[in-house]
């Protein structure tokens, strides 16, 4: 299939977990064992597929595929949920001719309900038959819940031994009641790379991208990011080539992370919150997260309001170390705050147009040290509330 890294086949099918007439199952098979890396939710309530994927990766890093479903999260489902998850891997693995325990599961959807095993059984033959006949967009659509658009990034990069391909696919902060925003993502790569090299570059790239975005600060029971490198291109990624691959991997994950914020529930803005001059990186992150999670800042940005006061107040309660007279705040390149005071001038006129754009730069300088951190955050809109306050009465 066009643009899919070599040696991977994608399949999708519709089981009808929530809505008929759409695909809600996705299967990835690697023709040869692939090196896998995974980053999982830190939530204490881990969904059954998260527990099982973590268990699989603890046994060893080589896998043969990924099985994903939308519509049912298989979270808060106890022992029965774990048994059901294993049963789905078993039936799919047998049908596809691969070791069921070499498949990594991912689920998103309603939490608390047990998997509808009868619907799984009916859909598995079609799922396996479709292998090799689906592209990244179709696969991504099968993972979607209330996402406004499919999120995938295709990249190739030429290393000294030849070209390698990467494709990243993600679902974002979509919501189906009664649950929470779940983020699922999988990246496929056909470079030949060692277990340690792949897992290291994957962990670093996730930390620099997915872990630097926020929609509403909630972490779901199901959040999962997987990376598979199968070596099918026959091209090694060593030395400078490894650095180039890492850069490309970060670009793929960065592209997906940006789309996750862009498609945050009800989001109309992507805030690029850049903190400079903090005492250290931890302080810079504290400031960025406090600003990025501030309901008052998020509503102001939604309202196109050059409200430096709310940004400054968030900086002030972040717990980071700085002298208040050293703080500077720029919004869309316009300096609004300096030396502990607002900068005089008619900023509203200057910012009217920039604040209508989707991407807004918020730059905060603390004047204390060398610590830097950038966070992408969504705004907070009427649609966010509408989307999440499902009147049942």
């Amino acid at each position: 299939m066009k643009n899919i890294p070599k040696g991977f086949r994608l399949g999708t099918a519709g089981a009808g977990f929530r809505r008929p007439g759409r695909d809600d199952l996705g299967l990835i098979i690697s023709d040869q064992p692939a090196v896998a890396a995974g980053v999982f939710t830190t939530n204490a309530f881990k969904a059954a597929p998260v527990q099982i994927a973590q268990e699989t990766l603890r046994r060893g890093p080589m896998v043969q595929g990924v099985l994903v479903n939308s519509g049912q999260a298989n979270a808060c489902t106890g022992e029965e949920g774990l048994r059901n998850c294993r049963a789905t891997l078993d039936m799919v693995g047998r049908a596809a001719g691969v070791d069921p325990w070499a498949l990594l599961p991912m689920s998103t959807g309603v939490i608390g309900d047990q998997l509808k095993m009868d619907l799984w059984e009916k859909a598995v033959p079609a799922l396996v038959n479709s292998l090799g006949g689906r592209d990244a967009e179709t696969f991504t659509r099968a993972m979607m819940t209330t996402d406004a658009f499919p999120k995938f990034v295709e990249r190739s990069v030429t290393l000294s031994g030849g070209m390698v391909r990467l494709v990243g696919m993600a679902k974002g902060a979509g919501m189906i009641c009664p649950n929470m925003a779940t983020m699922l993502s999988v990246v496929l790569c056909d470079a030949r790379v060692s277990v340690n090299a792949w897992q290291d570059m994957f962990r670093i790239a996730v930390a620099r991208t997915f872990n630097r975005v926020t929609v509403d600060g909630d972490t779901s029971t199901n959040d999962t990011v997987l990376g598979l490198a199968n070596g099918a291109s026959g091209v090694d990624a060593l030395g400078a080539d490894a650095a180039l691959l890492e850069e490309t991997l970060e670009a793929v994950l960065g592209g997906l992370a940006y789309m996750l914020v862009q498609d945050g529930e009800g989001a109309t803005k992507v805030l690029h919150i850049r903190v400079i001059g903090a005492a250290d990186v931890a302080d810079a992150e504290k400031v960025a997260r406090t600003v990025g999670h501030s309901q008052l800042v998020k509503t102001a940005m939604y309202g196109r309001d050059a409200n430096w006061g709310r940004i400054v107040a968030a900086v002030g309660r972040s717990g980071a170390r700085f002298r208040s007279d050293d703080v500077q705040v720029r919004l869309c390149g316009v300096e609004l705050f300096r030396d502990g005071r607002p900068v005089p001038g008619n900023h509203d006129a200057k910012l009217a147009e920039p604040l209508k754009q989707r991407d807004l730069d918020v730059e905060i300088r603390l004047g204390t040290g060398e610590g830097e951190y950038t966070l992408l955050a969504s705004d907070l809109s009427h649609d966010y509330v509408t989307c999440n306050a499902d009147y049942r009465t």
Copy 2:
């Protein structure tokens, strides 16, 4: 004046800082020096009146009154802001015949602008002339910004030496652009109490009340809670009487704190989040705050949605220690989650009526230890977004 503790006189006047035709200045004078206690914002950007009130209390605990204005926050105003604040204390102290440096200032309103000193000068004579002619409600109204209703609590308690009175007045999470929610409160008491006893009971009562409410998690540059006890009743509060006074003080502050949440911007609900069985109090607080600040939980409660999944997810990412199988969640007395799984049953029908009420009980049991914590939180509504996203375009 009726219900005002002995020896205190209240005054108000309209200076026209933002809107003509309403009082925006308030003055409290104690005829004899009063023991003062204060709790102030922890924000690194402290408004001029906060800096000066803290400086005054560091010099000594005896004060003669409180000067408050709404419409101008005098925050982020640098040295000029400090000079202006001192000048207002000076002109009011001289006119009222008290030491200007024994007055504690409080301000709320637009941040970044310098005080309009000409309006202050014109209004001070009327302010001082009104002393003794204003009640708690009128004083509270002079502090209000966008508060929906005035918040004050009047209480008396009979100690062994006779009756003492308390009155608490507060303004809440009202918002005037471009600024942030500021909370101001002052409690007056005519009991005779030592500096240490009053400051200790005040600090404890604030920790148990004001520090256990949340609207949007933001802490303003101006937040201030003051307590003055002037002894004018001639009634001592010693031993068991001190305990009785402390209880009454906590009831007054608790009443104000409840009203602050009830009048949170756009709030339609007061969530009583009670965490029981945590490893310690710190863990219980972590859970309560993570749930109380969760946008997903707050919108669900606004939407009258018995969404245990969002509560459980917030508990799971709180960082508190527990076994997920031990967690129980009750909403309005109905058990929704137990042993790591949803409790079967038609909860929606049972909860339809309770979820229409203003006060919603969220009880979370961790089954780990003895730690408990209760937090009052508001919901997150369309009106919150409307109130805070002031379209300027």
